[in-house]
Symmetry: C2
Subunit: 406 residues, 2 copies
């Protein structure tokens, strides 16, 4: 079994990097805080003498070598970047539990046939640079390396600028580092396991995601003297777009719709906005339902555009992550591990996107979930109990050992 005190104290130590009030952490992808978090992690790895390397999109890998030198590694991993107001578990758990697995094997002097690697994927959150799951997307060929390097944040800083600034630009070509299997431990980020009083979620796959940018172009003018009828004010049409998005999510209980960002320009109390930018996130566990939601959304946008000829309204899909089914044998292995240790477990479909979704396209993959308090994440008050963290890491250990072979 893993050393739960060591794992917990590492999670708490990591949370101090980029700490924000109310127990939160802010380590936006490839920011100095994200780099500092990686440095802390690397120091722990080097202390144990593990070999570390990285690739051209900044994904980090740590290896505990196996006896079969040429066999493909079993990879455990997740991410160290966070949301602007992130918590202490989303991402960090999977990385630090991966390291805990390696150290536990060392503590017990257990050697494995296959290498076991821990991966830290670049920019999983997708909040600073879009899309999410960026490092694993490039690694698996879902995203193109040159286009991804050129992606800019809202201040015009590119992924490439940051990789160069932090010395992450001289890595392996992504894909050079081939992997055998992938297992990711994560908090559920939803309310199901807690409500069902389960300790372990046996993740069978993940739902589909589509992201859109909507732009409403009007004309900046003064809030006082200009008559209402002669304004090109995009705000009334914004209300129609909000109504549209939330109607679309009513198609069934499983669908989701979120508007996380609304930016008015120039953002001045006495100026009619000249432009509004809106982000839209639509999800469904059923690919055809999401397809249908997308169609209704884009048709709805056209109807709103036609009713508002004084504006220019455009919607673009900027990301699609398809429905994922995890590998049957690996899912069974997670079920077996939970059963063996008497952890209450249930099957679950992931509502959040994870790097595992990308990895599943190139190698047998699965995930392990543990509950989080009130189903809350992407929030400083995100919390998982030490008992659940320990259970998740033990299931990760057992599943890794089963595929790496003693």
């Amino acid at each position: 079994s893993i050393n739960s005190e060591r794992l917990w104290s590492r999670i708490m130590d990591m949370a101090e990097i980029g700490e924000i009030p109310r127990n939160g952490s802010r380590r936006l992808a490839m920011s100095q805080d994200d780099i500092d978090g990686r440095e802390l992690f690397l120091a722990w790895c080097k202390n144990r003498g593990y070999q570390t390397f990285y690739d051209k999109i900044g994904n980090l890998f740590v290896r505990r070598s196996g006896t079969e030198v040429s066999a493909l590694p079993v990879v455990l991993g997740s991410h160290l970047d966070t949301q602007p107001n992130g918590g202490r578990f989303d991402g960090m758990l999977g990385v630090l539990a991966g390291l805990e697995v390696l150290e536990t094997l060392d503590d017990h002097k257990i050697s494995t046939r296959k290498h076991i690697d821990v991966a830290v994927w670049t920019n999983e959150e997708g909040t600073r640079f879009q899309p999410a799951m960026m490092g694993s997307g490039v690694f698996t060929g879902t995203l193109s390396l040159p286009e991804t390097l050129a992606t800019k944040d809202s201040n015009g800083v590119s992924v490439s600028d940051e990789l160069i600034a932090h010395g992450y630009d001289k890595g392996l070509p992504p894909g050079n580092h081939r992997i055998g299997r992938y297992i990711e431990l994560h908090i559920e980020q939803g309310p199901v396991l807690e409500a069902e009083e389960k300790t372990i979620g046996i993740v069978t796959g993940g739902q589909a995601i589509r992201w859109f940018n909507v732009t409403l172009q009007g004309e900046e003018t003064h809030a006082g003297p200009v008559p209402m009828a002669s304004r090109k004010d995009p705000v009334p049409a914004l209300a129609r777009i909000i109504d549209l998005v939330f109607q679309i999510a009513e198609v069934d209980m499983a669908s989701r719709a979120t508007i996380g960002e609304i930016d008015t320009f120039p953002s001045s109390i006495n100026v009619v906005p000249g432009q509004i930018q809106v982000s839209v996130d639509l999800r469904s566990p059923d690919e055809s339902v999401l397809e249908n939601m997308q169609q209704r959304f884009l048709e709805g946008i056209q109807t709103i555009a036609k009713a508002n000829k004084h504006l220019k309204i455009e919607a673009n899909c900027i990301w699609h992550s398809a429905v994922v089914q995890f590998d049957k044998d690996m899912v069974d292995a997670v079920r077996g591990a939970a059963l063996k240790r008497d952890y209450a477990a249930m099957e679950i479909v992931s509502g959040a996107g994870h790097d595992a979704f990308n990895l599943a396209r190139i190698a047998p993959t699965t995930m392990v979930f543990i509950p989080c308090k009130d189903g809350i994440s992407h929030n400083e008050r995100e919390y998982a109990s030490p008992e659940h963290v320990e259970a998740g890491a033990n299931v990760l250990l057992d599943t890794a050992l089963q595929f790496a072979g003693k």
Copy 2:
């Protein structure tokens, strides 16, 4: 008559300070660019040997002395700060035309009985620090000096911090500098004069303004796993608030409603916002109509709050600028000056707020408007023609001379 080439070239020189693309200027109140604009203006004034001084809220005054040493001055003025995407005329015109009046009198060796001062009021725009017309508000006692000094921008920097940083903290107590009369030249910022093909607007007064901050408090959570029914998402209620605000403005043709700022927090594409902040600007030339609009707005907010018990919704009035009537003799003087010079003129009520509204509460005051292209301002493409600028400055000269006395 004024020297129209000199005035025009000064307007263009000022526009280079804080220049932004498409002929715009950005000199947010008390920013370094705003200070640089003041320095340029002061250099022109000192070159002519005019005495300059400032007060504790950073209002700047320039004096061309009259022969009656103890008589109260005739003050011409406006502001040098701009909107984030401001133009070249809003504010600058009144200040630089004021200086042009002083220089014209010097060029023609005309002495006046009363002093003629030019005032540069601090933070007229109200975009960085609320409310608008801040410097003149403190000067006239409408706003309290200590409260105003403590006002912070969205980055937490206070007015006082900036005044100290730029050496503007050692000035006269506001009000120590007493004034006799006030005249402000400004672009109309609306479409009326252009549509009516008039050169001069004889401004009889200004409409009432109320500003509100609305806060919608929900709970940050993940855009994927959390079911729609268990979210505390403030975005659907935002649509109801937008609809409310624009319905309220339909009360009559003269009323105005604007939502210039919408800020979602933490502003991440895959996070349900935990909070939304919305600015609301309501105006009417009829005080009782605006009173009624405010009542309907606050009642509407309560109704929306009741229908959304999972959220905390609050609206606060942060500013009220009452209806203003300018001084009859001064309005007549503007009419007379336009008539004498054969400029096509008409009476008009100001839709924008101006420092003159505050000054009107302590001294006989009036304003002169000139047309601006397409009625557009608070926009880089704001434009006034050299002919209209010249005409406005000549009316300012004649009106100032009438009250200062040769």
